[in-house]
Symmetry: C2
Subunit: 583 residues, 2 copies
């Protein structure tokens, strides 16, 4: 570890600010270049002794050269820098630059970026360049090939939706409006990708070309601005999306030169395929949760990568996390501070204000990270946080974090209760009462090993990715449901033998408990769905000290209940007691 | 939330530095008073615009008054401040001070602190003041009442063992040496507390008197300096120590005035009782892990408490955490940086360097936080980190983080395998093979419901606090072991019915599976300890995505094994195949 390597950062906004913290932790000296003496990043780390942060535009040649003179290495917190000067600085041997200026330049032009990725075999939506100063006719020609809707996009200097204009129909007025909105920047057109989710993956790459990805996240936008980010990605019934998204992001970043962290945005299509949207050569808003939620944050890994320090573990250290942006809603700071203070009462919420002295509508003023032991806990708290946003609306929040409804399946269940037939429902209902008492979110449905085999397989295979941690399966007679479900999932399956009309339930018990070696089913007593629920709660309790304490209190209450009966028995005498029992 | 309240901090060392980060996150302006312009705390947060940090001793009246003029509230990161001046400043209405100067003064004198706590009913070791300039005779008198060994302690300005001198025998030479070592400070004597563990609890208290404690931790010292801290406290076989330690710490802090975070150190005695040792009225080394491991760090909660912001959740967000101090070993910075770099390759390790420009032997230069999904993972990584310390020695490390030994119980097992009799061992051994294959740490022992009932109850009751997440219990015939163990623990119990000499194992199966409502046992097939182990792994997998992936790979390998047999069957024909099977 070389503590003397000084890093210069082009850009002194919130991303730079979040780089200063790991820099301080690792003893890495930083000098920041940006206009202003009190920018977000300059507030939170003094420059090395006898130096100062630089006050000037991060696109200015003279300032970049001045910074290069004082540093061993330059990096960026924004891609809209002067790539030419960075290249010269590196070529002249003045200073190393990471990621490579060539990569920054390639990424600055979204059309060239996409062309590069497509050429390397990375799947992207169909796209085409538009000529300079495109006419209506040019647009019509392109749309003929790409179809509608189509996105007209600025090739450069576009972020937070400011360089995108969707075109739904090929009408003169809409085309003119789009071209006017986008101004006289170079443009390209992209076929509309009818995605079901937007997905992002942070990837860190060191100079030796080693890449490590973080878990994929779901990103949720409103008015083209990222508002909520959920980690890890839950892709519902789709298999392996997280792993495939990471592999794709790693592949894309491997085609680029230089070291650092990269944010890779993708579209998840209805058929489960992934299309790459764009790459940012720097820390990214969709990786802010990594500060609390992962072993090593995207910011620390960026510094480690560019300085050839060992890359840190990208693993989540919590089961479930979210990030919520705090946007300015006007020039007033009040709504920002109100949102922040509301978050301070939410367990697991961490407020990050960026130290910006002025608020503006839609300006990123801070963010909140939320961590939780379960998805259910996460979405409960997420709902509270979203309701505290100045522009909260139920129609926006309900699809993200719905309110649970009694007697219906929870949107983020930890336990699944399934049964082969609705005739098993009365036997299985006691399990719901127990789970309700402990406040455990669950879902309940019917799926049969013999009558709906495909549905059963789909249910079992999606259990892990939907966040289930235990499945309670009730069945009678041949009772194949628990064992078959256990064959298709890694989630622990608890089997409840249901007493059928003959054989006293022994048939169901034997069918459930005598599983072949390799596929375990946790079997409970005949018709005893109460114990199945309590077992599921004990399983959840292994990851929750609070729940373990509740289980201990429940055991105590059972003891007290029996002791109460002892007392009644002694007071009443057994003759009277047994009479009362008979009633 | 009032962003305009400026906080002045007396002291600009590492504790102040760690306060700057949450201050920046919450937009709280800080001004720091300490000698030097580049102290650890001054490096990591600019003072509010148009102000500057103050350069001067935090005991100087003029500097404190200067600080008070610029701030709304003063607080401390060290208790050796000028409590008189703080009291005047507050009395004159110049500035609020938190925690209250009276509390700081009380705590500064360890004898008065102890007297106060004892008077409030807080259990402490027997102690007695010594007269000013104590003679050998004075010491002998006190020792007659307190016994040996006895600790002679400086009442003031003592930390990291520098104010303590243990006296094993009442001999002239030892007494003289002790008195000389302690110098001419006021002294008191304390009976030696033969503790089994040292325990610490961080407690935050707001102005309304609301207190919240963090989970108790075990602190490990070497040469009287804190080296390792483990969270949460695992008190082996002792029941409820964590909760009792928290209750005691909360009670002690409730007797003090003012708001802020308090570090409470305790002794855990062999009989499970707790004695309070001392309190620090500020963030404390035993709470550094809270930055990564808890929802709200001790530093952020200190700021929230003194500013009347909502107190944050003190819950751990990870199952297991440790803190390892990085001490200077000489004036050279190299060993410090080497330790830090070694930690960068350990998953879950976070390096915190304090920005001190000079190293000294035993100086606190930084620390490492380690978080893990399980104790076993934690101690594996802890061993690596301790071996990388410049003064590493196996005799010091082995008792803390021993190396696992095959065929013997792991020191930090996740799964317990128990059986009623050694005759069950052959039936239970397949479970060990499966757990070995998955790299799951486990213990194996014999305990019988009928022959060693007390041992069984002790085993079951300590399971949660020893970190077990599943118990596999094998038993035959009457087979009471799994059910009885399940009655005494909240850990999921998996029952393996062992086939006894009669009834084909059906007796064991029925005895294990037909548990009364309220106490579940997860029953697997007769003699099928393989499935019991696989079920335990599925339970562990609910908290570990990596393990879930391994379970899925295992299922795949089973499928491939069968498909391999299909191929052989087709190639050889079934006549030949069945002949080979018979061999």
């Amino acid at each position: 570890m070389n503590p003397a390597k000084t890093v210069g950062i082009l850009g002194g906004g919130q991303l730079g600010r979040m780089l200063t913290h790991p820099a301080a932790l690792l003893g890495i000296p930083l000098i920041i270049l940006d206009s202003g003496s009190y920018t977000p990043a300059k507030q939170t780390l003094l420059p090395p002794q006898n130096t100062s942060h630089l006050d000037g535009p991060f696109t200015s040649e003279s300032h970049i050269r001045e910074l290069a003179k004082q540093c061993d290495l330059l990096t960026v917190e924004i891609e809209h820098v002067n790539a030419d000067v960075l290249e010269q600085v590196e070529r002249e041997g003045l200073c190393e630059v990471q990621p490579s200026p060539g990569t920054i330049r390639l990424i600055q032009d979204k059309y060239l970026q996409k062309k590069h990725l497509a050429a390397k075999g990375v799947p992207v939506a169909p796209f085409e360049a538009l000529p300079a100063d495109p006419t209506e006719e040019d647009v019509r020609n392109v749309v003929q090939r790409l179809g509608t809707p189509v996105m007209l996009k600025a090739r450069t200097l576009a972020y937070d939706g400011r360089g995108n204009s969707p075109l739904k129909e090929v009408e003169s007025t809409s085309i003119k409006a789009s071209l006017e909105f986008l101004g006289d920047r170079p443009l390209y057109a992209e076929a509309w990708a009818p995605f079901v989710k937007e997905v992002a993956v942070m990837v860190v790459r060191n100079k030796e070309g080693e890449v490590r990805s973080y878990d994929a996240v779901e990103t949720m936008h409103r008015d083209s601005i990222l508002r909520v980010c959920l980690a890890p990605l839950r892709a519902g019934g789709m298999e392996g999306v997280n792993l495939r998204a990471r592999a794709l992001a790693e592949k894309a970043v491997s085609t680029l030169e230089g070291a650092g962290i990269f944010g890779v945005e993708m579209f998840l299509m209805a058929d489960g395929t992934l299309l790459l949207n764009e790459i940012a050569p720097r820390p990214h808003n969709s990786g802010h949760h990594t500060i609390e939620a992962c072993h090593t944050s995207q910011f620390e890994n960026h510094l480690r990568a560019i300085l050839s320090l060992p890359l840190g573990s990208t693993s989540l250290r919590v089961p479930s996390a979210a990030m919520i942006n705090i946007l300015g809603s006007s020039s007033s700071m009040d709504p920002v501070l109100k949102t922040a203070e509301a978050a301070m009462s939410v367990p697991g919420a961490n407020v990050h204000l960026y130290g910006k002295t002025e608020s503006r509508k839609a300006r990123k003023m801070g963010h909140i990270t939320l961590t939780a032991l379960t998805d259910a806990e996460l979405f409960t708290h997420l709902r509270t946080l979203l309701l505290a946003q100045p522009d909260a609306s139920v129609s926006w929040i309900d699809p993200i974090a719905p309110e649970p409804k009694s007697g219906h399946s929870h949107a983020h269940p930890l336990v699944g209760i399934i049964m082969g037939s609705d005739s098993d429902l009365p036997t299985m209902l006691p399990a719901t009462k127990i789970l309700d008492n402990f406040g455990i979110p669950y879902e309940l449905t019917i799926t049969s090993a013999h009558r709906t085999p495909e549905r059963m397989v789909r249910y079992a295979r999606s259990a892990v990715s939907r966040g289930l941690r235990a499945i309670i399966a009730g069945a009678g007679g041949a009772a194949h449901l628990p064992g078959m479900v256990a064959s298709e999932t890694a989630v622990p399956v608890i089997g409840v033998p249901v007493k059928a009309s003959v054989l006293d339930g022994v048939d169901s018990l034997y069918s459930i408990v005598q599983m072949p070696r390799g596929i375990p089913v946790a079997t409970v007593g005949i018709n005893n769905s109460t114990n199945a629920a309590l077992l599921a709660i004990r399983i959840l309790g292994t990851a929750s000290p609070a729940l373990t304490a509740e289980i201990e209190a429940y055991a105590k209450s059972l003891e007290e209940e029996v002791l109460g009966k002892v007392e009644t028995l002694e007071q009443e005498g057994w003759d009277k007691y047994v009479e009362r029992l008979k009633k």
